[in-house]
């Protein structure tokens, strides 16, 4: 259960990072 919770936390962290990165790349593509 604890392992599953840790995995979930890690996944949430990754999602936040990837989502922000995607938005920044959209910003750059808008400049193009």
């Amino acid at each position: 259960m604890s392992l599953a919770r840790d995995r979930l936390k890690q996944a949430l962290g990754m999602v936040l990072i990837v989502a922000t990165l995607a938005l920044i790349l959209v910003y750059f593509s808008g400049i193009l």
């Binding site: 996944a11 936040l16 922000t20 938005l23 910003y27």
Partner: protein, 411 residues
């Protein structure tokens, strides 16, 4: 960012790498580094080749009738025409004025009537951060110049209203408009218009900024946590909401492109940029990120409020660690190719503190604020280009110290 030592996450990783007994060769890493440097040089060269583009076509785009006008003077440009059969009262003049703004050079086209009154102000080219520029438009800054005469001084604070939180941009546009107006006054109307010499603009803002740097230095050298928190709070309100003057990749882009404002008229810019760079070089610590960055302060506050610090998967952390380097490289590529320092400024600082921005900038801000509730210093660790530049200076300084075998402050 460590509370007491001023060591960023990247610095800790660098220290770990250097503490190993033998440095492993990492050909892929070296190849990537060289590739990044060479592509940046290529982008700079391409941008330089197209940087000195003609402004005239930009004027003709917005004012097609100017293309048929006679050129009275080249630098600054003055065009004149008189519609045939309509007499001198149909005379029209166009001029172009230029100045150095916050983000780089800007150019203004002005249309005058036969009396020397401004009919239209055309923004031909600028490099101002978009939220600041939108603020000027929203506040009707350019409209105040319509019907102004070539004999008027057009001096900020006297007969020109500047826009709060966009003062530097206001003054730069005013300077360009004054230049374009006065050149017509001298050339066509024979007026004797003397340009004022710039005076030093040292005021409370500059003094307070110096105090903040001193406070940050004291908090770092004395390892005084409470002083650091005090400086962070002061910087959050002063650099953040009051002046909206956070350090950005656009500042470093300006330096690299040679778009450096005059120190007499923009001492604040000089104190901010040189203060951060010198602190990194002399103290061998990233003082700005440690205690002065208002956005970093907000993120620390968020993570303290939430009490959460999500772990990042081990396999992913290697990729995540390279992210800010890749984004800094990408930002600088855009800066060099467009010759516009603000084009690579993807940080959400002006959006938050100026409450102005495009939709995508608001989305980035929301994502970062959400992320900072769950991961400590979320933007700093994975996205911020300012931290990368300052940390690279610290690393380079430490390496220089090691080469010279000097007693180094680097751990």
């Amino acid at each position: 960012m460590s509370a007491g030592t001023g060591l960023s996450f990247r610095m800790k990783f660098y220290i770990l790498e250097n503490s190993m007994s033998k440095q492993r060769t990492r050909p892929i890493g070296r190849a990537l580094n060289w590739g990044a440097v060479l592509t940046l040089i290529a982008a700079y060269a391409v941008g330089y080749a197209i940087r000195n583009r003609e402004i005239l076509p930009l004027l003709f785009e917005q004012a097609p009738e100017a293309a048929a006008m006679d050129k009275i003077r080249d630098h600054p440009l003055v065009l004149a025409s008189e519609a045939p059969g309509q007499g001198p009262e149909a005379a029209r003049y166009y001029t172009i004025g230029r100045a150095q703004g916050w983000g780089g050079p800007l150019s203004i086209g002005l249309c005058f009537n036969e009396e020397g009154r401004i009919l239209q102000v055309l923004v031909l080219d600028h490099n101002e951060t978009l939220p600041f520029y939108y603020r000027l438009e929203k506040k009707g800054f350019f409209e105040q110049f319509e019907s102004r005469h070539v004999s008027e001084p057009l001096w900020p604070g006297e007969d020109v209203d500047t826009v709060t939180q966009a003062t530097v941009s206001s003054e730069a546009f005013t300077e360009a408009i004054r230049q374009g107006s006065h050149v017509l006054g001298r050339e066509i109307f024979g007026l004797e218009l003397r340009e004022r010499q710039p005076r030093w603009r040292i005021g409370l803002n500059e003094g307070f900024l110096v105090l903040l740097f001193v406070g940050a230095g004291i908090s770092f050298l004395g390892k005084l946590r409470m002083v650091r928190y005090l400086v962070m709070a002061a910087a959050f309100f002063f650099l953040g909401f009051h002046l909206n003057a956070s350090l950005s990749i656009g500042h470093f882009g300006s330096v690299l492109l040679g778009y450096v404002p005059h120190v007499v008229t923009h001492p604040f810019w000089w104190i901010l940029v040189c203060g951060a760079l010198l602190a990194a070089f002399i103290l061998k610590r990233n003082l700005y990120c440690h205690a002065l960055c208002p956005f970093g302060s907000l993120q620390e506050l968020n993570s303290r409020i939430s009490g959460s610090n999500l772990p990042v998967a081990r396999g992913f952390i290697r990729v995540a660690r390279a992210l800010p380097y890749a984004l800094t490289w990408l930002a600088l590529i855009f800066v060099f190719l467009t010759s516009s320092p603000t084009s690579g400024a993807y940080e959400p600082f002006p959006t938050l503190f100026g409450l102005e921005g495009m939709e995508i900038q608001w989305l980035i801000l929301a994502s970062v604020i959400l992320g900072s509730l769950f991961i400590k210093r979320f933007f700093c660790r994975f996205f911020c280009p300012v931290g990368i530049v300052l940390d690279l200076i610290v690393m380079a300084r430490c390496r220089l110290g090691n080469l010279r075998k000097e007693k180094t402050e680097c751990p």
